[in-house]
Subunit: 319 residues, 2 copies
């Protein structure tokens, strides 16, 4: 199958079409329009087979994850997603795989009103690079450097499930039934917290998505905001699957250091805490307060049952 | 070396900085601003070792080519380059290689006033994906579908050199001295025709860059513009290196079907031909008229010494 036939068959003029796309797939470039008063948020993530997903992962899960990790970065910035570019490196043009992959991609594009505007397909080891863009009103983006001492630390969803799901697939953990399926789904089909991110624009001081693990990603906020933090580990939101693990220490380790959850970690001042509760309730969203920031730059105190807790693990290492 | 150290050492806050970048490398997303009255042009190209460049190619050449192929797509659209995102898949964090690669990237960023605003570094087989963006005034972009019967067909530079250069490196062609070096440099360090592209905005009807070979890329214009063309092969611009080949037939084959030249192929109406000549002269740019379009959709006539010329080759096949 030629590159152009492949693109026409699986990607061109398929899926969600936006009015701000003046020219989509099929020319040297796509042409798009950014509304006045909006900044453009841009992120790029690459997934490599055998590194970021297991060999022989279902194509639909690979597409979902490639989209979700990028949408999650937009969410962490408080941006509304608009366009993606896809670069697909494939060992061969496997039509069944491409059919599933493109369907998975389309599904998330439809759901989040995102248009695929271009990309590249090349022959090579299986890997997917997506560059995603979104709009955020001028000066309202959520950065890592806006946190202040006294802010409360929140996370969306539950922590560590994706890491548990991966270990289940690798035979390094043991669960069955619904709990097992839940954790594996969290690993394969993470939910980018797009609506929560947009809602946080006028409320949060700082925000990041948890891709490398809670402590590693909190570390980025602490470093860039020159703050310290105390976390109350009793408050970490754990799923029923996680709680069903017999090993409580191991569950804490997943929650603190496993990557790939794509929950949002954000900080909110005392004054905005009431607003946050109202908005979360109105939109039926959930976030849990797990600690508070202080002025001791870079210092992280973990407390369990009211006592200091020592943790030696670290987040995902890329090299 | 950790991913973050790698990014800080080789990419963050290095090289050209633009005022329309509100936030660059180091957060979940970059934040940028598009000027009013401008559309955003976006393109993505991936280069895989062993597919798009030879194993053990100099890192500086790999960086140059990864940038040039993307800038060339912007040029073909008539867009002024502004930002790039880089995804780098590396088997290991080789600091010498990264030093050369990042220097090569910075060189082109400086020259074309482009800022690296983000990206991803992952462990995997060597491959580089760049998403490049540029500005083009509303409704002035050069597309593939704007050509009309009667338009004259032009190309910039000389044709086929990059293909010849590749064959020299592979031992499939034989040249020595300056001619050899010229062709190899054209393969390794193609020049994106950025200023020519911008200059063509008010002059050309259609434009494409030659990445898959003259005939393959002309084919895209003919198909999308519903035109045919007659090309006068005596007029194809050939470099001194190409002319020094003893095999005239082989030289024509390179010029017609070898890819990777990244020259611009564009069409201009009879009325605009005078304007084109003036502007080319003013800016000291060069383009050669090689034929004319007609209304016979999809029909391509090649003429050599006034007679029909039959050519069986085809452009680069991606799969």
């Amino acid at each position: 199958m030629k590159e152009f036939t492949l693109i026409d068959t699986f990607f061109k003029e398929k899926g969600y079409q936006r009015k701000d796309v003046m020219l989509g797939i099929g020319d040297d470039c796509a042409l798009t329009q950014v509304p006045q008063g909006q900044w453009l948020a841009t992120t790029t993530d690459t997934l490599v087979e055998g590194v970021h997903f297991l060999p022989d992962s279902p194509a639909r899960a690979v597409a979902h994850k490639a989209m979700a990790v990028n949408l999650s970065d937009l969410a962490a910035m408080g941006a509304d997603p608009c366009w993606i570019n896809l670069s697909l490196s494939l060992p061969n043009a496997d039509e069944a795989w491409l059919g599933e992959f493109s369907a998975g991609l389309r599904e998330l594009c439809e759901y989040y009103s995102v248009q695929l505007i271009g990309g590249d397909t090349v022959r090579g080891p299986l890997s997917i690079t997506i560059t995603a863009q979104g709009f955020v009103p001028e000066n309202q983006a959520l950065t890592r450097k806006g946190a202040r001492p006294g802010d409360f630390v929140f996370v969306t969803g539950t922590l560590g499930d994706a890491g548990l799901g991966l270990d289940l697939l690798l035979g390094k953990a043991n669960l069955s039934g619904k709990d097992r399926q839940f954790a594996i789904d969290r690993h394969r089909f993470p939910t980018p917290r797009v609506s929560t991110g947009a809602m946080l624009r006028r409320i949060a001081h700082a925000c990041i998505d948890i891709s490398d693990g809670l402590l590693a990603d909190l570390g980025h906020i602490l470093k860039q905001s020159h703050c310290g933090a105390t976390l109350d580990l009793d408050k970490l939101p754990l799923s029923a699957a996680m709680q069903s693990l017999n090993d409580r220490e191991k569950a804490l380790e997943y929650a603190l250091s496993a990557g790939d959850d794509y929950e949002l970690l954000f900080t909110v001042s005392e004054e905005q805490k009431g607003n946050l509760d109202t908005v979360l309730a109105n939109y039926n969203l959930k976030a849990t307060c797990i600690g508070q920031l202080n002025g001791q730059a870079g210092k992280l105190d973990l407390r369990l049952h009211g006592e200091a807790y020592s943790f030696q693990g670290q987040g995902y290492q890329h090299f």
